[in-house]
């Protein structure tokens, strides 16, 4: 009833090419962003910020980056954790080696390091594709695991590869409290998400999608596969790298190479697939699903076991978590292979035609 585009006539190309062509969408998204900035801080507690909101925001950003590569350009990557690690350690090195380096340039430089690393390990994509590439990108993952553990230069000669940063500040404002961490990450997310959205709906995004759908046909109509694939690797690893730097600097504070293990690569791929391949919105849904699910399970499972008069050990919880996680992934793939984003758009379509089914 309220979700209708009736009467919203577009009289210029500009109006026709907006991100959200329906006014209600625009209002809803703006309201959502405003709420994230203004309303959430009014009631969220520190636990809520540190355990759910900040990881959620950073992982959404990382999933967004992975989605550009996997969802828009069709290059399956299992090395996203490595790009995060390069972003984090790259930014760390700039901060340590250049005293007085402000946070935002450090993040950008860290992202650029990840871009370089991404292009380097994206080179095989020119020769191999599909599953071969998925395995080949694991090389990036294992190489970075080793690099940050063994080559002391990257970690400023720390013996175990663990590093820490403190006294973060942006424009003179300290990023210490849980709330300021969340707000800072959210601001970065909004900026980069807008950027990514505009990229994927522009010429380059169309090239990526053409390569994804059929690379041979795309090159026949004049799209350069090398340029398109490597630019997807570059943009994707920049965003993932910034997310990695945020994860290290803002969320963890002190981290070691294991924080960016192959596990995180798998999780990022899950987020993209469950959220919806080739959908910016889907990255957020996927990240929310993967970040919140373990927390919910940790709360619900012991309560559920208590209900039946049983007690469940910590190991039992972690095993049950694995089972439920695996089961849900399979279930999701079967029921909705296009991800939560598809459910979302189906819901919107239903709303548009409501109360008539067609």
């Amino acid at each position: 009833m309220f979700y209708r585009e009736n009467g919203q006539f577009k009289t210029s190309y500009r109006a026709d090419q907006q991100i959200f062509t329906i006014r209600q969408d625009k209002v809803a998204i703006l309201a959502l962003i405003l709420a994230a900035f203004l309303v959430v801080p009014m009631f969220a507690t520190d636990y809520f910020y540190l355990a759910i909101l900040t990881p959620l925001v950073i992982m959404s950003l990382a999933a967004l980056g992975v989605n550009i590569l996997v969802g828009y350009c069709g290059q399956i990557s299992l090395g996203s954790g490595a790009f995060m690690a390069v972003g984090a350690y790259g930014a760390y090195n700039f901060v340590v080696r250049m005293p007085g380096m402000p946070l935002i340039p450090a993040l950008i430089l860290g992202g650029l390091c990840a871009t370089f690393f991404g292009i380097l390990f994206g080179l095989p994509s020119l020769r191999v594709k599909g599953l071969y590439l998925a395995v080949a990108t694991l090389a990036a993952q294992f190489f970075s695991d080793w690099m940050f553990l063994r080559i002391k230069w990257f970690t400023n000669d720390s013996p175990s590869g663990s590093v820490s940063v403190n006294n973060l500040e942006v424009f003179g404002m300290a990023i210490q409290s849980a709330q300021s961490k969340y707000l800072f990450c959210l601001a970065v997310l909004v900026v980069l998400a807008l950027l990514a959205k505009n990229l994927v709906r522009g010429a380059i995004g169309r090239e990526w999608m053409a390569i994804r759908d059929m690379d041979v046909a795309a090159s026949v109509i004049g799209i350069r596969p090398m340029y398109a694939k490597l630019s997807a690797f570059a943009v994707s690893s920049f965003i993932v790298g910034v997310a990695g730097a945020l994860w290290g600097f803002v969320h963890l504070g002190a981290w070691e190479p294991a924080a960016f293990s192959v596990d995180i690569s798998f999780k990022l791929l899950f987020m993209v697939i469950i959220g919806g391949l080739g959908s910016i919105m889907g990255s957020f849904f996927g990240a929310a699903f993967i970040v919140v699910l373990p927390i919910v399970l940790n709360l619900v499972l012991p309560a559920l076991a208590g209900l039946f008069g049983m007690s469940i050990s910590t190991a039992g919880i972690s095993h049950a978590e694995l089972i439920i996680f695996g089961g849900l992934i399979v279930w999701f793939l079967i029921v909705e292979p296009h991800g939560i984003a598809k459910l979302w758009s189906t819901g919107k379509q239903k709303l548009r035609v409501w109360p008539f089914p067609h």
Binding site: P124, R127, F142, A315, H319, F325, G326, I329, L333
Partner: protein, 309 residues
């Protein structure tokens, strides 16, 4: 020289185990086009089942003989793997026909988590020992040629023999039986095979069963050398470069790729490692496979794919 030979031999033995796990990948990919990430979890699951039943059977029935207990445990574990194959086909694969490769890959990752969780819930998450009575003592060969001889572990040799027998049996199965022929037909073309009356669902169950048996043998050998524990799943990650080096669809490729990776890993660790800080085993195989792919994208024995618009 003797040291070099020892390293080489150790590499070949490790490569044999990689090849066994890689074989599981190749079998499933060949017959169904599914890149089965769950192979590592299957190895863990099978090995856990076998280790625990070998421990439980003497307790329950009072059988003293180790051989009998191990055989029974092997049979039970194999039966469990059959059930797993059937359940996976029924609940997962059947619903995902015609989905793209990435979705199928994710589904097997889901299966991985599921099997890891179920396996550890049922069988416990400690370190277990599989004792199939392999002799542990090293023997020294060629001591007339080199000073002190070349040290070779007997259990390595036995493991290699078991693996070779398994591979021979699989080749016979694929080449000589009608089921094997059906499997190869499905591998070539799902639709064509289905249209001449080969039941796709049954073929999938059979293939996953065979992969389950391969996983069981790999888990048994690995478990008797190093014990059964959670890290066994990482074996699958070690075996992935083997698959892409050998070609995703080639059984001989898996074996030769396994041997190359095993030898390359050991030799590089010993002779190259000290110069770059050590521990290069974890990425050497991947980077080797990556560089190789740049020159021959389909792997050593893979089929060359020609794209047409």
């Amino acid at each position: 020289m003797a040291f070099f030979l020892e390293t080489l031999f150790g590499g070949l033995m490790a490569g044999m185990l990689y090849a066994l796990v890689a074989l599981g990948f190749v079998l499933i990919f060949k017959a169904s086009g599914v890149f089965n990430f769950a192979q590592g979890a299957m190895v863990l699951f099978a090995a856990l089942a076998m280790a625990r039943f070998a421990e439980w059977i003497p307790q329950w029935t009072g059988i003293e003989s180790k051989l009998l207990a191990n055989t029974a445990a092997f049979v039970i574990a194999a039966a469990i793997m059959f059930v797993c194959a059937w359940v996976i086909e029924r609940l997962v694969l059947r619903h995902l026909v015609n989905q793209d490769a990435a979705t199928l890959l994710m589904a097997t990752l889901g299966i991985t988590y599921f099997m890891e969780g179920v396996g550890q819930t049922l069988f416990g998450s400690e370190i277990y020992k599989i004792d199939i009575g392999m002799p542990k003592d090293p023997v020294f060969l060629l001591d007339s040629v080199f000073d002190g001889g070349v040290m070779v572990n007997q259990e390595d040799v036995i493991a290699a023999v078991i693996a070779a027998c398994l591979v021979a049996a699989l080749s016979l199965f694929f080449q000589k039986t009608s089921t094997g022929r059906a499997l190869r037909a499905v591998a070539d073309d799902h639709q064509a095979a289905q249209s001449i009356g080969i039941p796709l669902n049954r073929i999938w169950v059979i293939v996953w069963c065979v992969a389950g048996i391969v996983a069981l043998v790999a888990g048994m050998i690995w478990g008797s050398k190093l014990g059964v524990q959670f890290t066994l799943t990482t074996v699958a990650l070690r075996a992935l470069p083997v698959v892409i080096l050998g070609g995703l669809t080639s059984v001989p490729g898996a074996i030769i790729g396994g041997l190359i990776i095993g030898v390359g890993e050991k030799l590089s660790e010993v002779y190259l490692g000290p110069y770059v800080g050590g521990g290069i085993e974890i990425w050497f195989a991947y980077v080797l496979a990556l560089v190789f792919l740049l020159f021959r994208p389909q792997g050593l024995f893979g089929e060359k794919i020609i794209d047409r618009v």
